[in-house]
Symmetry: C2
Subunit: 472 residues, 2 copies
């Protein structure tokens, strides 16, 4: 029976409340584990970013006073950033905070480099808002490995389906969809782990809707991290409040002034509910090989191929034209970026740095890399042309040489897309590489990887977390 337009929130909540672990197909469970592994990898990648240092400092100064709480937790912990105290894990760091702040900080860290998983249709990064909310929950309540996998899968399903109902107009208008939809994913994931009934899940959707925010205008700046961090924290809070009876409207998603109408245009409500339990969005979630917006992945693949072909040395290039889906130009036409952070969303920088340095890792998206004179010179030769016939993660590179010759590279499917997914081993390698690069004092990452793959057997997810921070 088709869902009535007025039933969307209730239908979604009813599905989540009634879902059993056995109902989740094994491939979906495996994708949840892969997303969690990739989440840890990306949380390591951002854990020492100045945005994290600053946020930890402010949250600590305005938390419970250090002299009241610090002694009991241990001075060594508090001293690193002043008065940071608590018992919840900040991935990759020694400081401990309260669980709500941990959800905020870990989500912020995971999205610093746009290196996290990506649901291609909506361009949501599903794990960043959801996984840290669940991990933070596990530091207060017992969450088993099966509960974690189950809740993570349902949270991803929630945010991606809500995003589907308003894509692409929602992001096009300027909403940072990972944050705006992520708060609902976090709320439903935590709500499921808490065992909330459908009425309370609808309340949690309402309280999540009162916090849904995040703007594309902030991308490339630290301010972005606050949107994604607040989505994780806000979703966790929404579920915790609902558990205690904090009520909300009956139609927080589909109501006349509900989230979908507020931030969408003629939302397709059926996208939220049709095929729940049989069609899984988690299976359309992919993992990125490069630390920048998904629209740039095919571009980087193309540059690496161009370099590997050896036919056109960099000095010989007169111009490089990227023929891509219009989204490429809309999101990544940023010829004049000045910081590494902004450069994650710049096609011009990505092309120049990849051609010059032959790789696209974190070191290619630093302030220094952006201001390298050779990169600056080459990026001026990059042009973008819309080709609506191209899929998002594909591109045609046309390189015009100074001698007038033309070389062309076509990437139909970027590495990391569902046609060319990263293997489990490549994901492990990504985690090891990022942890080694950004959190070298976290020496237990192999045990962490093992624990994620074996999550189904864990009686207490919080036991993963010591492996995600420095020993001692």
């Amino acid at each position: 029976m088709p869902t009535k337009a007025t039933d969307v929130s209730q239908t979604l909540a009813g599905f989540i409340a009634g879902s059993r672990y056995e109902d989740i197909p094994e491939p979906v469970r495996h994708e949840a584990r892969r997303s969690l592994l990739n989440f840890f990898a990306t949380a390591f990648s951002g854990c020492r970013d100045p945005a994290l240092d600053i946020a930890l400092g402010a949250l600590s100064e305005f938390g419970v006073p250090g002299d009241a709480a610090g002694d009991a937790v241990g001075d060594a912990v508090g001293d690193a950033v002043g008065d940071a105290v608590g018992d919840a894990t900040v991935i990759g760091r020694a400081e401990r905070v309260d669980p709500l702040s941990a959800a905020f900080l870990n989500a912020a860290a995971a999205n610093v480099y746009d290196y996290d998983d990506t649901h291609l249709r909506t361009v949501i990064h599903p794990a960043a808002p959801v996984a840290p909310a669940l991990l933070a929950l596990s530091e207060r309540r017992t969450v088993t490995g099966q509960q974690m996998i189950h809740a993570l899968a349902l949270g991803i399903e929630t945010e991606c389906r809500i995003g589907n109902a308003i894509s692409p107009e929602h992001y096009n208008r300027g909403w940072h969809i990972t944050a705006t939809c992520g708060v609902f994913g976090a709320a439903m994931a935590v709500g499921k782990a808490l065992g909330l009934d459908d009425r309370r899940l609808v309340w949690a959707l309402g309280t999540a809707s009162a916090q849904a925010s995040g703007s594309v205008e902030t991308l490339g700046f630290m301010a972005k991290s606050v949107g994604v961090g607040a989505a994780a924290r806000g979703g966790l809070l929404a579920a915790l409040l609902a558990e205690r009876g904090f009520d909300g409207p009956d139609h927080p998603l589909e109501g006349v002034r509900g989230f979908l109408n507020l931030t969408g245009e003629a939302p397709r409500l059926a996208e939220v509910t049709e095929g729940l339990g049989t069609r899984w969005e988690a299976l359309k979630n992919i993992h990125k090989p490069y630390p920048c917006g998904i629209v740039l992945n095919a571009v980087i693949d193309g540059c690496l191929e161009l370099r590997a072909s050896g036919a056109t040395p960099v000095e010989a290039i007169a111009s490089i034209t990227l023929h891509g889906n219009p989204l490429l130009r809309q999101r990544a036409d940023r010829p004049a970026v000045t910081t590494g952070r902004e450069a994650q969303g710049s096609a011009q920088h990505a092309v120049a740095v990849t051609l010059l340095q032959g790789r696209a890792g974190l070191e290619q998206f630093t302030d220094a890399a952006v201001n390298d004179p050779a990169v600056l010179a080459l990026r001026r030769r990059v042009k973008l042309v819309d080709d609506p016939s191209r899929a998002v993660p594909s591109v045609r590179l046309v390189v015009e040489r100074k001698d007038g010759a033309v070389e062309e590279i076509v990437i139909e499917h970027a590495r990391g897309t569902d046609q060319r997914p990263l293997t489990d081993g490549e994901l492990e390698e990504k985690l090891r590489m990022l942890a080694a690069s950004k959190a070298p004092d976290c020496t237990e990452v192999d045990r962490l990887i093992e624990a994620v793959w074996g999550l189904e057997k864990s009686a207490d997810v919080s036991q993963l977390l010591p492996q995600a921070r420095p020993l001692g």
Copy 2:
């Protein structure tokens, strides 16, 4: 020289950074004090609401653990709601929390009953998101009375001007404008009190924009309180982060994907900047005599007049038709409310309960009052008719009697509007009444009132706060 469209955030920030206390006209300062007094009154009114109990419980369980921090602060404090610990004041309550949570809870409390100050053109309640952010700041950093008045006036100016640029379409679409614009007011107020320069104030606007949220769909439910609470907390956090160098976009308000374009339609950017420092929105901020939406104030005045006239006893009423500005119907046509909270926004309930009970105080907006059979019977006789020629806070009541006779009452200016403002004495009385009704163990309210009027001479605003909580 007119502001360039691309200069809005910078111009606003520059004005705030450059403003001196001497630049604030005395009437504006006085309105800031009145707003603060009314804020305390309304924070008392909501301080024991179940929404506050629940939020305190959840924030405490997920805060720094009680056994780590509780002993140092004192067990008596923590025990009231489990593990609530900290040193910042929750107005009207014994529990102490961290300052960010205090900002959240006090803002939520102040907006529970829609009893707070109102900027009529936008229907923003300006003090609720701004004042508690500043008070929370004062519990960590020294804020003088002059700084408090100055920052509060600039915060109110900020949120009302941003609201002006997108009203009425922003609220009409379904954005809860007190929350969505309030986060900017809180950020600029705290930023001013911290002495941030214009660049950092622009960053704070950006981080505020990443958190701006709140939906009209949640009105009448506890979920609403989270929107307003998060605006205060989010604005405080935005300023604290900016102080430490947390960056944001250059055009968070006016950018193509900035706040004004995201949530408005063809925003009138000049409304934000024109006449800054010479025209003050704080002077258009009014205080309400009744605990419900401003659109209902004239309706209640009319019902009280009708009752006072004695010409039409309740038993004789066949129907009551409210001819009001279309906003009255859009916001308050709620014939079937079931809770006191929803009833704050119901014209039908307001008419019935006021006619039957002869007053409109907090007791008239309880669950019991809403479900009183006599109220239920009378509210069914209330009809709403649009009259676009009427100003928002005016109404024409047409009462048809069972005998066919008609009585008509016209309220041109509701009590509490700028034509009929509450006096300073009436505001004091409102505070005393609400504290006595909801926080009878707060016995120092007379000293609190005196301290607010004498704020200009205070060297440390935090010294007000012991008068706003139970002794002990």
